[in-house]
Structures are given as structure tokens and as C-alpha cells.
Symmetry: C2
Amino acid sequence: MLKKTGRYDAFKLKWHPCYSDPPTVYPIPNHQFWDSDVAKWIEGACYLLVDRYDAEIDLAVQELVQMIREAQDPDGYLNIHYSVVEPGKRFTNLRDMHELYNAGHLIEGALAHRLYYKNNEMMTPILKYADLLAATLGDQEGQIPGYPGHPEIELALLRLYKVTNDPKHLKLALFFVEERGNASGGEEKRHYYDVEAEARGESEHDLPMYYPAAKSYWYQQAHLPIVDQMTVEGHSVRAMYLLTAVADLVRIEQPDSDFGTKYLPTLHQLWSNMIEKKSYVTGGIGAMKKWEGFGMDYFLPHGTDEGGCYAETCAAIGVMMLAERLLQVELNGHYADIMELCLYNAVLTSMSLDGKAFTYVNQLASSDQDLSQRHEWFECACCPPNVTRTLGFLGGYIWSHTVEDSGAVVNVHLYTSATLALQIGESKVEITQKTNWPWEGDVQFDIRTDQSLLDIQLRLRVPGWVKSWEITPRPDQFDVQDGYLYLGAEWLQNNPSFRFSCPMQPRLVRPHPLAMQPVVYIMRGPIVYCIEDIDHPWEKNHFKMTMFNPESHLREEIRSQPDQHVAIVADKGAAGDLDTSSWNGQITAESKNETSGEARKLHFIPYYLRANRGGRDELTTE
Amino acid sequence: MLKKTGRYDAFKLKWHPCYSDPPTVYPIPNHQFWDSDVAKWIEGACYLLVDRYDAEIDLAVQELVQMIREAQDPDGYLNIHYSVVEPGKRFTNLRDMHELYNAGHLIEGALAHRLYYKNNEMMTPILKYADLLAATLGDQEGQIPGYPGHPEIELALLRLYKVTNDPKHLKLALFFVEERGNASGGEEKRHYYDVEAEARGESEHDLPMYYPAAKSYWYQQAHLPIVDQMTVEGHSVRAMYLLTAVADLVRIEQPDSDFGTKYLPTLHQLWSNMIEKKSYVTGGIGAMKKWEGFGMDYFLPHGTDEGGCYAETCAAIGVMMLAERLLQVELNGHYADIMELCLYNAVLTSMSLDGKAFTYVNQLASSDQDLSQRHEWFECACCPPNVTRTLGFLGGYIWSHTVEDSGAVVNVHLYTSATLALQIGESKVEITQKTNWPWEGDVQFDIRTDQSLLDIQLRLRVPGWVKSWEITPRPDQFDVQDGYLYLGAEWLQNNPSFRFSCPMQPRLVRPHPLAMQPVVYIMRGPIVYCIEDIDHPWEKNHFKMTMFNPESHLREEIRSQPDQHVAIVADKGAAGDLDTSSWNGQITAESKNETSGEARKLHFIPYYLRANRGGRDELTTE
């Protein structure tokens, strides 16, 4: 798709006919993100090449990197749009344009490239670009006191800093985070986006399509300094990327700064607001299509015909990124629960089983306006390569660890079949988990070491949704802290093989009462279930009138189509159809909600498997 | 207030300092509606002077009319803004500016003025202005092929036509109605608002504040020709005023046009869509604040913190206007039910008992963002004088009649204490109804005639909400058609005094299930009830957590504060508080909605009496 759409060759800096297309989302040129599409593909490719070498992909990465090297301006600048379409306009619209966002993805691409290729072919030009950015942007005289409309470079710079330890990478990231939302910034003591818009000669009524009103800077989380924000607002991907950088900052120790004290309360506040009041059952966030972001507290409609259910794929990936960082800040199973929820539902649902079709929006219920469909590609194609790199980086979500001289602490956040290989001093350790998760809850662990007295400690997440769990052999006593079972070195030395078991069974969950959704959801383990029209040929209108009987018996069935999964069947799950005849021609009626028609069988399939079997593309999770 | 704010003297065409204020609602100058504020006040004053003469008001009307006469341009043009602020720019922005809307209200004012003063002091200049408009706008060569962004002049011209019978008044109204939404209109075969915006040199991204996106012409009901519209969309006052004109057209007989065949299906379609899917329990319409209008089907949140509940006063008045016209097209009690519902709830609630404070927005539930408060005045002050003229014209809503040589048919739509005096040939007839409606359901009718054999027929609305009714003396048989009890001349000659009784008792009603509001409302007769914090000092958060027990006994209490009314008390109406602790820190929970705390007494007061007794301005209707 990169080749087909022109993105692959874009770093050759030739004119592409689509560069003159009017923006679909004014004022952002449609090709504005191309740099990041390529960079994210490189990042994902480099992760996945580790798993399975592919000569064509290897060659493509190298070819792209060569193009990127050649596209660089002598002064280090590196951007397709501003090199080809608007030369001379660089850094004049940080608010709307994705110049620094693209730079961030180039940095992340370079980090992955260096990891796989173990050379600096990509890193060298990117470091040069970072030097230019560090020289150009900041609070010193002659610098542009601005920050990106779409955060991303902050977290990228902090990832880079971890590798380079170059203070200017930290400094620039910190400047971007701290200056953001400053109403009296720069020499003019004004909001940078005001200053910048004025310099562009822009009327305040010339509204970007995603702005509900003039100066809707909350869209960019730039309405207030981050530490003063009490609710998570605006474009949800931007919010997650920004908070991920903030969480990264917390772990950075500096002689004269305590980032934890400064930022941890904000992270807690915004995370809680998001989870309690602005998240869907799938972990999806951002109900509102217009600004691809958060609505009001508890405003969580299930589909377009109810007012929205955007739940962008990239935003759920952002939640995973943030959760992954927070788990490093404080080991709490809650973050891993949310990370797992997002992965299996809000993220996995975005790709078809054959890996060739994607969603951008992940609604909980379809409607005539928005069927349950995947697409081959998007004009703004942020999601597909984001899924690629997320799946490539899955190991980073499954576990985290710290290695010391004679041992290691390994935190197991997610369960799947995987192996972690560690080098501890002179010793090699392999920790393997084997499971049919999420269909079965038994996980077999095996620790293989080349010497028996290593101080290995394991911390296993106890999912928040389990009612009981077991570990075999059974320790004399358990140490569970904040949702993690702490297994000490001694017990593990005696029990290098053990089984951790989380029984799974269907359960009904409900949204917060203030969300005013008169629904229940079916979950089993981390999986959210849905129903699709293909299993229910009697369905006429997206299941809107189907009344679920919450007392019905939920039976599990192992199925292999469209892929191995546990389906759930409720033989009389549909109590009948909602009878609204009392309301015909009326505003209100004295009737209670009544049901007509016969009870029918409902087939529930994991939400992420939706839209893989044909049908009329109707679904609901309710 | 007209004097205090500068409106009273504005037709003197002097500069007012506020004329240079930036628009609060871009791009509409704040003083844009001043002409209409004055005209609506004149209209209301002329209606009310009939009831009770007041020398000060009489003098003010005469003074204003004199100013209007002097403000008229020699060519007939008459508009404050374009005479004082933007001379030379007349008719260049029909889409946003209220030039023709103002003209419509001037016409309606002139009609009321002529009715009361029985002279043409106001009518003469207005007819001259109408001549100019008829010459300037239309589909002939050299004419501007445009139509007003805010309908009003259409219905005003049709009211005028009924008096003047001048075909150019009908023709202009018809042109405005039929050209509206024409995508290939005028010589350029394009949408007039596109042509006009281009002529102004306007960027399509220069968005009026009420436009969610470029060219949101549905805001003005100009996205499609009216006959092609299947759902009622956009600004709700505009929609109601437009449809009122369309309903007026239906009753006009023309040799070569059957307006009924053409427009009645559209009226039925849009009315049904509005009532079934876009109306609040109070009859209020238009959930969305941004465009002061309709949201999606069934999107009817109760307050700002749920996503809206605009329910503008003027829009409810518009529903009454439309219902009043539809009742003349087809006598059906359903229209009168809605008219009564709007009057007692969505309209009456907009004025404080002392007549000095008003609402613009009529939410069903308050929130911290929007308390339940009235205000002395508004920058855009359409609502207060609209209430004035509506109350002044109440007789027109109570009954309609047709008089012929030897008799009359009188339709009684609303019950209250009132007298209708008719001249039938040489005879005088007085029909009087006397009742304590809506607190009691007995209505005493008396027909007084100076000769006994007149062919008087009465049709009494049987409210849709009554379960049973009685008429005393009791006729041998009843003729009820479409919600009206038809009483014939013979029975009435024998029973010139009779009583019609509709027992009233509290009832619980529910919104349509697809509105997904887990609430019940309490009604009694046409009155919707609410609860206020002043009666419930234990209330903390706008009753959001108070769980009503729908099984509780509802007891009536006659009260005299803040005004005579029947209150409803439920001794254990509050089952307790919603317990949401299971959701703390979670997206979903397995818990059902549970209640904690003790059952408590709830006091229900008519919604229209809200915010007359102090308190913390918290209310809910749920």
C-alpha cells in the first residue's frame, strides 16, 4: 500500500499529483503524514524482521533509509511536505501541521532500525535532524517557542535520550511538555498558537475542521499546562502520546528535578478520568468523531446513530503505550488489565484475520451510516502501520524486567506463548510461558538457567477479572501486591516449572450508570463479545430492537471459524423484540419497555473477530 | 429593557456604541435582530392593549411607529443595521444576516397594529417595504434569486396576503419557500448561498459559529428543497417558522396550484419525525446548543452535562404556531395536545411569575455548567418579546372558528377561562368557558345568543392523555372524530350550558426506549413536573444520584406558593441513592445498579414554576 499510494517513493522529494488535492480535513494536506507512515512501517518491519527474516522487507527498509538520507537538507531538515510543497514555510504552523510528529516517528524508526541492523545508517541523519530541532525550538533567544500540535516527538526524544543520554534530547522533550498550553509563553507572553496564527495572517474564524470553535486548543491538549489539566480532553491519540511522554519523564532522574512529584498526580488524575468516565468496554477511547477524541464525562454512545463511538485504533494503541509506561512507574495490575483489554479488543479488532484490511474507527454497534467494515487503506493511514509496529513490539507489552549482576526481576503483564531470554552476567536465562490464552486460563511457566542459584524473581499479574486463581505447585503462602503475585527466587529455584491458572467463564458487565446505556456486555477473560447479523439472519436493524435476557444461560462452544475461538451461545438469549408501538406518533408513553415476539438463540463471537465472515456488516456488543 | 439596551431608539438610526462590538455569535452583529425585538414588542403590545388599555404602552407604540416611519429609506428600505452600520451592503448576506427575518416581524407588527389602531400608520410604510422586497427578490431577470437564512418573512407575507389579497405578497412568500435549498437556482444554476458567499469573497473555511462544517446549509433548512426533506434538521426556530409558512400555504386555494397535495406529505413527515424522535417531554425541541437545533433521531439528553437540552423558548413557540396552522388544515386533537403541552411547559417555563426574568434554554435537568436560572434579558433577545406576543395572541390558540351566514363552527383546542364573541349576520354570540384548568379538569361552557335558532356547532378537544371524560348533561350518543367531540346545533340549542370534565391524576410517562434515558417523568393533565433542590435540602448533585421509585404512591397537594398549583408528593419517592462504588477505578462492573441510603420524600412542582423560589437552582424532571 505504501508503494501503491506514492508514500514509498515520497522521500525522493518529487512532486506527486495528489499534493495539489484540497485537504479532506482542512487545513491539513492529505499527504502531511506520509513521513510518519513510512517511518512507522520501518519501525514495525525492524521489529518483525527479528522474528522472521524476509529479504524483500529487508531490502525495502534499506531502500527507504537510503531515500531518507538523500532527502535530508544540508542543515539537517527532513520533511516531505515542506521540502516539496511549501519550501520556506517550515515551522510556521506547529499547531496544525505534523512536522514534529513526523520527526518523532522518524526517531522511533531510527531506534528500531539501529536495534535490528546494528548500524547508524538511519540514526545518523535522524540525530542530525534532532540537532537542528534542538537548535531551532526552545525558550532561548532566537528560538521558536513552540511545540507540536500532535505530540509524538516528546516520547520519541525520551526514547532517544535513553539510548544517547544526550541532554539536548531530554531538554527538547521537556521544553515541549512544559511549554504546552502556556498562555503567556515566549517573548510575547502569549499562547504560542495565537502568535503563530497571527503570523500566518489567519482569521480566527478560519476554523480547522476539527475545531468546534475558534481557538479550541483543548483539541491539542494545549488549553492549559499539562499539570493544570484535570480532565483528559481533545484528540485522544494526541492525549495518549503526550501522557506517554509525561510518564517517561517520571522515570528520569535528574539532579535538580523530581519529575515524579511534579507529574505523577497529573498522570493519576487524567488516567482515572479516562478510565472511569471516558472509556468503552473494549478499552477504546474517544467517542467524538469531529475531533477524534474525548467527549464529556460519561458520554459514551455505542454508534454513529447515537452520537459517536470513534474509539480510534491509534488511540487504543496509545492507551497501551501509556499503560506500559505506567507499569514501569508503579507495578499495578490495573494498568496491565487495561493494556490487555485494549490489545485484545480495541486494537486487535482493527485488523482483519488476513492482515489486509483495517479499521480506523472501532464502534461498539453498527448503524446504517457506519457498517461494521474494514478497509484496505485510509487517506490518513496512521492506524495500519501503528498496528504493525505494536504487534512487532508485543514482547515489550508482555513483560518488563530489570537485570542486575546476579539476578533479575521479571514482571509478567500479559499471558501468551512466549519466551524471554535474559543475559545475567555470564549466565543465560530463558523464561517461557505456554498457554492457549485467552481461550483457556492455564499458563505453564518454565525457567531454564545455566546455573541454579540465580536470583530470579517473577511477578505474575492476577487479572482483575478473575474470581479465583491457582498456582501449581502451590506455595505455602502467597504474596500478592497491587494485582501481582510475587514469586521469590527460592520458590522458583525449587519450582522452575509451574502452572498459573485463571478459570475463565462468561460474565456480564455493565457500563457506569451515569453513562445511561441500558445494556449489558458479555465478557470472558479479557475478551469482549459481540453479535453479528451473519449468525442471526432474522436481524433487521443492527440489533437495536433485540432485547437480551440477562438471566439466559451462557454456553461456551469451541469454534474454528473464522479462527480458533470460544464462542458463547445463549439459547434463549434474545427475549424478543422491543415493542415501541405505544410511542407511535407520541413523544412519551405510559408503557414500560415491553417485548414482543419469540425468544431466540444468540451467538456471541469475540468482538475482535467481527467482520471476517461476510454478512450485512451489522453488529452490536450490547 | 428595550429602552435600557438601546433598542427602543434604534430606529432613529443613530450610531450606538455597541454597534462596534465584535459579534458574540460570529458573524452575526449582536444588534442584528433589534428591528425584530421592537416589532415583536409592538405586536405583543397591540394584542395586549385590547385586554387592558395602558396609556404609557399606547404612547410607546405610537412613538416607535413614528420612528419606523422616519427610518424608512425613500425607496422603501427599512433596516437598522444596513442603514447605520453597513450602508450599501443590503441583501448581500441573506444566509447569515436577519434582514428579511426583521422585515417579517415588521409585517407581523404592522398587522397587529392595524388590528388594534384601525389605521395604517404602520401598515403603509411596511407595505412600501414589501413592495421593494417583491421587486428586488425573486426569479425574474435582475432580481436577487435568494431567500432568508432565517425564515419568518414567509409566514408574515402569508398573514399579510390574507389581509391584502395582493398576489405579490403570496408570490414572494412562495418564491422564498420553493427556491429554498435549490442546488441549481438562479442564472448560475447553483445554490444561492454559494453564489452569495463567493460574491462576498468569503472563504468556505470562514465558518459561522453555528456551522459544524463548511456549507452546513441544513442549519437553515436549505440543504434540500423542502419537499425533499425527510427529517427535520438544523436550527429549530427556523424550521418551525418555515413549516408554519408551508402549512399556511396549504390552506391557500389558487386556480392552478394544489398546495395541499404538494406540501401536506412533507408537513406530515417532518412533524412525525419531530414528535416521535426529536421532542422532549415538555414539547421542547432542539437538543443541540451549537446550532440551536435538532440533533440526531432520539438524541435527547436532559442537560448540558449529558450533551445538551437546548429546547429554546422560541422553538416551542414555533411548535405552537405550526400546530395552530395544522389544526386549521386538519382538525386533529393530536396537534392541540402538542400545542397545549408546549404552552404549559416549554413556553410558560420561560418566564418568571413576576414576568421580569426569562429563559432562552429550557433544559430538563440542571448541571453545574447550567443552573436552573432565568435572566433579565439576552443579547439576542428573541425569546422575551416572543413570549409577550404569544401570550397576547392566546385567544388564537384557544379556539378557531368559521362563521357563515346563519351559524358558526367553533373548535375548542385549549381549556381555560375565556370568552369568544362572534358576530353571525345580525346576531351576536358569546361562548364562554370557565374552568380551573389545568389543576381541575371540569370546564363549564355557556353559549349566549340573542336568537335561539342559530346553527352553532362546537367541537371540543378530548385530550389524548385522558383515560375517561364526561359531558353533563349527557347526550344520547357521542360523535368523537380525531380527538374532538362534535356537538351539533340541536343539542347545543337544548343545552346552551353544559360541563365537560376530564379527570386529572398523576401519571408516569417514559421517553421512547431508543432515547435511552432510563427515566420516568411525572405528568398530570398537560403539566410536566420536576423536583427542585429547595424542597430537598439533602440534594447534592442535581438529583443525578437520586433513584426514583416508580411504584411509590403519588399524592396531590394543593399549594399556593409560588403560585396556585397542584403539587405531587411521593413520601418514599426517592428509593435511595445510586450506588456506583463498584465502578470506582473501573470501566465496567458486574454489579447491577444498586441503591444505598434511605428512602426519602420527593416534592414535585410543575416544571414551569421552577426557579421562582430561590434555592441553589438545581432541578430535574426525571
